[in-house]
């Protein structure tokens, strides 16, 4: 085991090249709906027990199932009305189970990236070859069933191994979302090829905020707006990224959906916000900033 992920250098916020976004936007804003399939009787592996209760965990399973029967449609409706596209964190087996959801997202021009095959199958304990199998399955399924070339990755249930990031780079993946260390993209150290981290969030992610920090819908909206206000202000000097991860089984509930609408109306009422997908953010960064930042990091290393 390592004492540090050993994937990126220390790079203090105040001393970086300026990041710019299209049309001189201050902030790249993106929304990551996690559209997930949890299994009722998943196989057991090391590192994480899929459900807190003995199987079948009817409460936990049906809570998530609400997202796919009900919540996802309310969430799609609110996002579409606000002109905000999603970059879907997808358990790729969902393409097989619920093609109607995939079709609806595709029709709105949303991106799909992999969140593993099922949210009850983890990377813990997998060999490199087994992880490559999951990555290939994701790329193939998103190409064949959703008609997109997959660009990004968020490990299923945020389970990682020390090697996962190398394997993503070697498979030609453009970005990973597993690291929460920054509000800007970061070039990562990989065995071969290249990979960046795009900012995701566990701070304004609805799961921890609503179910672990016990936020009411009003408080949730207040926190997301505060996050936006600060990053938007800082973005005047150096372009920032704000990601809002969503879970339809939570925000798609009738007592919460208006909070999402309120946040998106607030964000979209500002000028200088780039409403992007994660793929677009990564592509722009590679094209305009990767080399500059990589050179700055190399210079810091030499100086050290």
């Amino acid at each position: 085991m390592l004492s540090d992920p050993d994937r990126y250098d220390y790079f203090p916020l105040h001393d970086r090249p300026r990041i710019t976004w299209p049309n001189d936007a201050r902030l790249a804003f993106w929304v990551a709906p996690n559209i997930e399939f949890y299994e009722l009787h998943p196989p057991l592996g090391p590192g994480r027990v899929p459900w807190p209760r003995p199987f079948p965990d009817v409460l936990g399973y049906s809570y998530r199932d609400y997202g796919n029967r009900v919540g996802v449609w309310r969430m799609i409706d609110v996002m579409a009305r606000n002109g905000v596209r999603g970059s879907v964190s997808l358990n790729v087996a969902l393409c097989d189970h619920f093609p109607d959801i995939i079709k609806a997202c595709n029709e709105l021009g949303w991106e799909f990236f992999s969140h593993g095959v099922y949210n009850t199958r983890y990377l813990y304990g997998m060999s490199e070859a087994q992880q490559i199998r999951i990555i290939r399955d994701s790329i193939d399924t998103i190409r064949d069933k959703a008609g997109q070339e997959m660009s990004g990755w968020l490990s299923p249930a945020l389970t990682n191994t020390d090697e996962t990031i190398d394997l993503l780079a070697e498979a030609g993946i453009q970005y990973t979302l597993d690291l929460m260390h920054d509000d800007q993209p970061t070039p990562l150290r990989v065995r071969s090829g290249r990979l960046i981290s795009v900012p995701y969030s566990l701070e304004i992610n609805d799961v921890p905020l609503l179910t672990m920090r016990n936020a009411s819908p009003e408080r949730y909206a207040e926190i997301c707006k505060a996050q936006f206000d600060q990053l938007y202000a800082e973005g005047a000097d150096n372009g920032m990224v704000m990601c809002m991860p969503l879970h339809p089984f939570l925000v798609g509930q009738p007592h919460r959906i208006r909070a999402l609408d309120e946040i998106l109306r607030y964000v979209t009422s500002h000028d200088g916000v780039w409403l992007a997908t994660a793929r677009e953010i990564a592509a722009w960064y590679y094209q305009h900033h990767y080399d500059t930042v990589a050179a700055a990091l190399a210079a810091r290393r030499r100086a050290a």
Partner: protein, 309 residues
């Protein structure tokens, strides 16, 4: 050592769910239903009457409201008992004032211990629903089927004997089921179950004794989740219940009748400092035209007369 090959088997990966209990169905493409008198929202209030034994083991998992301290945990035992002695009467008085009927979900031990409570429920023409035996006797995976059948029989026969009611509805303690629960309750004449929290409307469930139905009992905006689990304020409880109502009421104008479930645990909502939160929610909700208050069985019957099989 890598994971076994079986970890990469996906036996249900296809256009289906990973079990046979119900089929996947999107809420917004279903045939709209109409409630009596053109109502938009059916108001289904459930009052959960629970017995938490002082010597409960909290196994195989700790239920919300279970004992938390060393034996004898008077602190928690008596706080739960408060609900059946005091809180529930406060809730009843409030619902009476609004002329609202509810479904009372009884642990059968509550009926056995406090038969006055059953009479108060039947006198009000509330529905009696079965909710297992008590909060320590969980329906869980690993429970032998004969042991679980005994729990189902004890719960239903006790409640039917004491109340004289048919008892068609079932809610497992703590929303917990084994793989056998639905078959066992259906075999004993239960026609609807409110454990699965995946829908806002009823839907058919397959059992060995034929089709029964799932009813949408809220978990998310119950007093148990908002006030106890999430430690939110009374005002936050009121605003979320009313907001759920408003969204469903609005949807009903486009998608047909909806159901608002209000799930109440008298040991929580029946406290003096919280009861007004329920009063405030009911005052706002009953101020709308087109709200049909009914029991679970009545709502399901109206739904079944119209919904596609």
């Amino acid at each position: 050592m890598p994971l076994p090959e079986s970890y990469f088997d996906y036996p249900y990966r296809g256009e289906r769910l990973d079990h046979e209990r119900y089929r996947h169905q999107t809420l917004f493409t279903r045939r709209p239903v109409q409630w009596p008198d053109g109502a938009r929202v059916a108001l289904w209030i459930t009052v959960h009457l629970e017995f938490f034994p002082l010597d409960m083991a909290n196994l195989p998992f700790r239920v919300l409201g279970g004992m938390e301290r060393g034996y004898p945990d008077y602190w928690n035992y008596t706080l739960r008992d408060y609900g059946n002695r005091v809180g529930v009467w406060r809730v009843m008085r409030l619902l009476d004032r609004y002329g609202l009927r509810a479904t009372a979900a009884f642990n059968s031990d509550v009926a056995q211990r406090y038969p006055e409570l059953v009479r108060a429920v039947t006198d009000r023409r509330w529905e009696v629903m079965a909710s297992g035996v008590n909060m320590a006797k969980l329906h869980v995976g690993g429970l032998p089927v004969e042991a679980e059948r005994a729990l189902v029989t004890e719960s239903l026969s006790t409640l039917r004997r004491i109340s004289g009611a048919a008892v068609r509805g079932w809610h497992s303690p703590a929303h917990s089921e084994s793989d056998n629960t639905l078959d066992l309750v259906a075999a004993e004449g239960v026609t609807y179950v409110a454990d699965w929290i995946n829908d806002d409307m009823p839907y058919p469930l397959n059992t060995k004794s034929g089709t029964i139905h799932a009813m949408p009992l809220t978990h998310e905006w119950s007093d148990r989740m908002l006030l106890w689990q999430y430690h939110q304020s009374s005002a936050e409880f009121t605003s979320q219940v009313v907001e759920a109502f408003r969204v469903l009421y609005d949807e009903a104008g486009r998608h047909g009748g909806r159901i608002l479930s209000i799930a109440l645990h008298p040991w929580i909502i029946g406290q003096p400092h919280r009861i007004k939160a329920l009063d405030a929610a009911l005052s706002q909700i009953t101020g709308y035209a087109g709200v049909w208050n009914a029991t679970g069985a009545e709502i399901l019957d109206a739904w079944r007369q119209q919904a596609a099989p």
